[in-house]
Amino acid sequence: MDFSYTETQGMLRDTLARFLADTYDFETRKKMLLRPEGRDPGIWQALATELSILGAPFAEEHGGLGGGALENMIMMEELGKVIAVEPYLQTVVIGGGAMKRAPAAMADAVIPEIIAGNAVIAWAYAEPQGRYDLANIRTTAKADGAGFVLSGHKAVVYAAPWATHLLVTARTGGSQREREGVELFLIDASLPGIVRRDYPCVDGFQASEVYFENVAIPGDAHIPGGIDLIELLADEATMAICGEACGVSRKLHEGTLDYIKQRKQFGQPIGKFQVLQHRMADIFIEVEQIASMALMGTLKLDLPSDERKAAVSLAKAKVARSINFVGQNAIQTHGGIGITVELAIGHYFKRGTMIENQFGSADFHLGRFEDLTLAA
């Protein structure tokens, strides 16, 4: 057993952390969100070309750095510390994850484009009626000659306004909630018949409702693997946002600890009050457990699917509960100032809140864990 990071992993973290410290302070982030596109695309380009770290989780044969899920976790944790609105989760973790399992021709074409910062991928998987069930899908991909025709509506597709590619789940057969017949496709985001309605999200990201109106897509857009592959990608994404939660919650803790040392009421720093000391201790305990669960789930992503799912679900359920506690108590401890847009703390709280239910709420994941492991 060894929980230490390699030297390369340490360098990856330091490189990214230093870059973000210089480029992603709270005031700069605010300005990024106010731009028409809701981000500064120069950041993504710099990650690709200046830092050359978008290849972190890819194989060397594709021009990557030879890492995997742990590297993604490290990146997401650092991005979480500045509540970055970069499409790393969607493009590298999910899109990249799909490409690693895609036919060689697609992988060889797309992975270098991801690493170079040219490809931005958004994952169109959720549907208005589907909640967190990945197989609850109405969008159809009907075979048509050598290709398919896509029709349907995908909900809250993060990063879609910036995307060059859409990674889409759709039905080639089966009924609305059947696992059989759900397939994955990577398509050009500018194909005729794709209609987007773009909007900002409460956590600062940009997203879209994406409508496919009889979109003709080529046959080689299909990535074989069905619902099993889709669940694997969702599990990898889930662990990536648990890593992000780790960064977000560390900042919530740090910001609150600073605040109670400085803020004076009744003639002393409020950190002298035992009730707040105990609360800070509880926040600390939850943050440490987020870190533990992020690591546990990430290290178990390679296990056989049922064990993997059980581990990821336990991790996500705990992270959801913990970040809820950390966020709410960080705000409460700040008092009124925590509810204003002026202070960073509230923005960490907002992203943390969105992480709670992203890829499944605590209830959803506890239910999945029970189904897998607690048969009567």
Binding site: R131, V156, V202, Q265, G336, T353, M354
Partner: protein, 397 residues
């Protein structure tokens, strides 16, 4: 002891129900249904309907314009207005400064201010908190120095709700810098149009402009606008805070909130069943109803004590703590229920913006409301302070 309403009470309930159905402003109803931000005129439209009917201040003594309703009738009133989803009237005049003025004010102050609070002509705001004085309110530093017939006020207030609309504000100011903290404070009524007052917006996490900073520079306030004795303002402040806390329980509104959560959970699908059939989610609603019922009967017992002549005392801290926690839990369940559609940010309809919000109507304010409602355990004396009050005043610790 009797839980049943008398025939008279039932008749009163029907009268109230019919009145609301016939007189609640249609335009206001429409905006509420759309989740639109409400303007000053919107808030006042319902206020004015009630003022005309004489029902705007049920809790006030009859001689000042109250309704003379029994405790049961007041309970029915708050139940029915919540049930019909009527907006909550702005409390600053009706529930805060009004009672202070009729309790501590001079006959001239009563004659001058109370009718205009009732009619809605004057919109009030509350100048209590300061950047350095939140939970420790008595440490406030905004000072008022006597200059002939005036006080000259300098300082800064914060978290001043709806000050952007206010005609008048009630301010706690320090009139004796040398006295022990609570003993050097006075309670002033300030015309918000007085030169030297600047109101600056504070934007909160859901994007709302509800609260403000109020800066005061050499603001001249006539001495006749001081309520009660000089340096005795803390008495008014404490009286007002206790009143504020009872209203803060918000039982009727939370009941209505639970019905809304149920409606959402019936509309949202979880697999082949509505979310309300999900055992985990259903249990959360049940637990919330349990807590709310406990709060409701605690409040009823407290109201019964009030009608027996006991004013709201430190036990109202209990109502504030549990009421605010329940309000927060409601917004949390709502956000959980709406699933993916909690994420899109929808500000409300701007001028000429007819675009429909993303996702179901009940979803688009779920996250901003959740963020915003974190305030309930902070304002009106934070829940930490409320627990201190219980420890000290009730438990004698």
């Amino acid at each position: 002891m009797d839980l049943e309403f008398s025939p008279e009470d039932l008749a009163f309930r029907d009268e109230v129900r019919a009145f609301i159905a016939e007189n609640y402003p249609a335009e206001l109803r429409g905006k509420q249904d759309e989740g639109d931000e409400l303007s000053k005129e919107d808030f006042l439209s319902w206020h004015k309907v009630l003022a005309k009917k004489g029902w705007v201040a049920p809790a006030w003594p009859v001689e000042y314009g109250g309704t003379g309703w029994t405790a049961t009738q007041r309970y029915i009133w708050s139940e029915e207005t919540a049930r019909a989803d009527c907006i909550r009237l702005m409390p600053f005049g009706l529930s805060m400064v009004g009672p202070v003025i009729y309790t501590f004010g001079t006959p001239e102050q009563k004659a001058r201010f109370l009718p205009r609070i009732l009619s809605g002509e004057d919109w009030w705001c509350q100048g209590y908190s300061e950047p350095g004085s939140g939970s420790d309110l008595a440490s406030l530093r905004t000072k008022a120095v006597r200059d002939g017939d005036h006080y000259v006020v300098n300082g800064q207030k914060t978290w001043t709700t709806m000050a952007q609309h206010a005609d008048w504000g009630f301010f706690l100011v320090r009139t004796d810098p040398d006295a022990k903290q609570q003993e050097g404070i006075s309670f002033l009524l300030v015309d918000m149009k007085t030169p030297g007052i600047e109101v600056r917006p504070i934007i909160t996490l859901g994007g709302e402009h509800e609260v403000n900073e109020v800066w005061l520079e050499d603001v001249r306030v006539p001495v006749e606008n001081r309520v009660y004795e000089e340096n005795k303002g803390w008495t008014c402040a404490k009286f007002l805070l206790a009143h504020e806390r009872t209203g803060i329980a918000g039982v009727a509104a939370s009941k209505r909130g639970i019905e809304k959560v149920k409606t959402i959970a019936r509309a949202e699908m979880d697999g082949d069943k509505p979310l309300i059939a999900n055992a985990f989610f259903k249990r959360k609603i049940a637990e919330l109803e349990m807590d709310l019922t406990a709060l409701e009967f605690t409040e009823l017992r407290s109201l019964a004590g009030e009608s027996a002549g006991k004013g709201p005392g430190p036990e109202s801290s209990l109502l504030k703590i549990k009421g605010s926690e329940i309000q927060q839990r409601l917004t949390e369940l709502t956000l959980e229920a709406v699933g993916h559609y909690g994420a899109p940010y929808f500000r409300g309809f701007g001028e000429g913006d007819n675009e429909h919000p993303i996702g179901p109507d009940y979803a688009h304010r779920a996250a901003p409301t959740y963020f915003n409602t974190r305030k309930t355990t902070i304002y009106g004396g934070s829940n930490e302070i409320q627990r201190n009050i219980i420890a000290k005043m009730v438990l004698g610790l």
